[in-house]
């Protein structure tokens, strides 16, 4: 069964400030050296919660807020400088917080619609991560899949603190309750990883990870293009009986030609 309403939203953006030489008969083209500027690629997935309609609104507001804020701050993003990367990270965090504040204003009552949000911003080779909830980020390197986000659920928190066992948490449904979410109680985790050529990046909602085990995800990510891998992952989740919305964003780091 596939849900009629999609509570997931995603966005893939590229910000660039560059001069690209497409053709010339000049002998010396070194004048364009250093004018490439950094290319910034932004990937976001969000999975709304709080009833079908509310969840859809929440994830939409969160992703739209990120897109709008980064569009406003485009000059700051373009001026990325590795020595001032904390400022860059603060801009990315602010983009997420803006969505959170907007949702809080729209739904002031406690327990209103909220959403997970996992955002990866790639300024090669560094990927900056802002994450809330139980959507996930992975990267595949030389066949090995590594999850770079940790699920922020009550189940994970309670088991981590030895308050309950995994079995107790599962039975009580604590893994379905988020301990951090945009629009609810937001405690985003912030981090980064350096990617390498050939790595494949995956951001996905739990509609995938609840039904497809990691080894199968790794195999599907390794096969074919990024686009076909994304489709294969979604198909695998649906074939495995997934009835939740499934979103998978796949990007592969390849050498520009």
């Amino acid at each position: 069964m596939v849900r009629a309403t999609n509570e997931d939203h995603f966005a893939i953006m590229t910000i660039q400030k560059s001069v690209r030489l497409l053709a010339t008969n000049l002998q010396d083209t070194t004048l364009l050296d250093g004018m490439g500027g950094p290319e910034v690629h932004i990937f976001v997935v969000a999975d709304g919660i709080g009833g079908t309609a509310g969840g859809k609104v929440a994830s939409g507001v969160a992703v739209r807020s990120v897109v709008e804020y980064l569009a406003e701050a485009v000059n700051c993003v373009q001026d990325f400088d590795i020595d001032r990367e904390q400022i860059f990270l603060d801009i990315l965090s602010t983009a997420v917080w803006r969505g959170h504040e907007r949702l809080k204003k729209m739904f002031p009552a406690q327990g209103g619609p909220a959403t997970t949000l996992t955002m990866t911003t790639l300024v090669w080779p560094r990927a900056y991560i802002i994450h809330a909830g139980d959507s996930r980020g992975y990267f595949l390197r030389k066949g090995a899949l590594r999850q770079f986000t940790r699920d922020q659920t009550m189940g994970d928190d309670l088991v981590d603190r030895d308050a309950v066992t995994e079995q107790q948490a599962r039975r009580a449904g604590w893994y379905n309750v988020l301990s951090s979410e945009v629009g609810g109680c937001l405690l985003p985790s912030v981090g980064l990883i350096d990617l390498a050529e050939g790595d494949t990046l995956l951001l996905c909602t739990d509609g995938l990870t609840k039904h497809v085990p990691d080894d199968r995800i790794a195999a599907l990510l390794a096969a074919g293009s990024a686009e076909s891998a994304a489709q294969s992952l979604i198909d695998a989740a649906l074939e495995a009986g997934g009835h939740d919305n499934v979103t998978a964003v796949v990007a592969r780091a390849t050498r520009a030609t």
């Binding site: 400022i87 991560i129 981090g191 980064l192 350096d194």
Partner: protein
Amino acid sequence: MIQKKVCMVGVYGTGKTSLVERYVHSIFSAKYHSTVGVKIDRKLVPIGDTTVNLLLWDIEGRSSKQDIPVSYLRGAHAVFFVVDGTRRETLEQLFDLARLTRSATGDVPSIVALNKADLRDQWVLAAADTKRLLAGGLHALNTSAKTGDGVEDAFLWLAKATLDASLAPDSQAKVSHED
């Protein structure tokens, strides 16, 4: 407010993440999760009239044969080394890590947390080890992320050291972001 980047460095499983979680969030998780890449937390530390905004870069622990990506260490104002007091090899490997780290960061304030001090019956370090670290210019302190013992002291010592370093007359070249 003065912002300072502190890199947490140590072999895998020494308790870097647990120390940060204890210090920043006052929690301890007995379940081991290996860090992937870098996890960044912040903590505001009031020192006298100044507030130091510590940016804690919890860097993925490596095995002895793997180097830390130098790019993670770039711009660090201080280094918080972590040793597992129940695994002697983590101390021996620290000396190599410290050499590598210093080649990237320069001579910045550093501290070594001899962690897991609550596991007294498994403790393998002695006073001579602390002296050896000190001889290498590394101030060391026993800590326990589980009980919290020594954790606040270690981070506070480092925060003060970074503040002192930034107030020193020859610190102009060291960049720190002031709001």
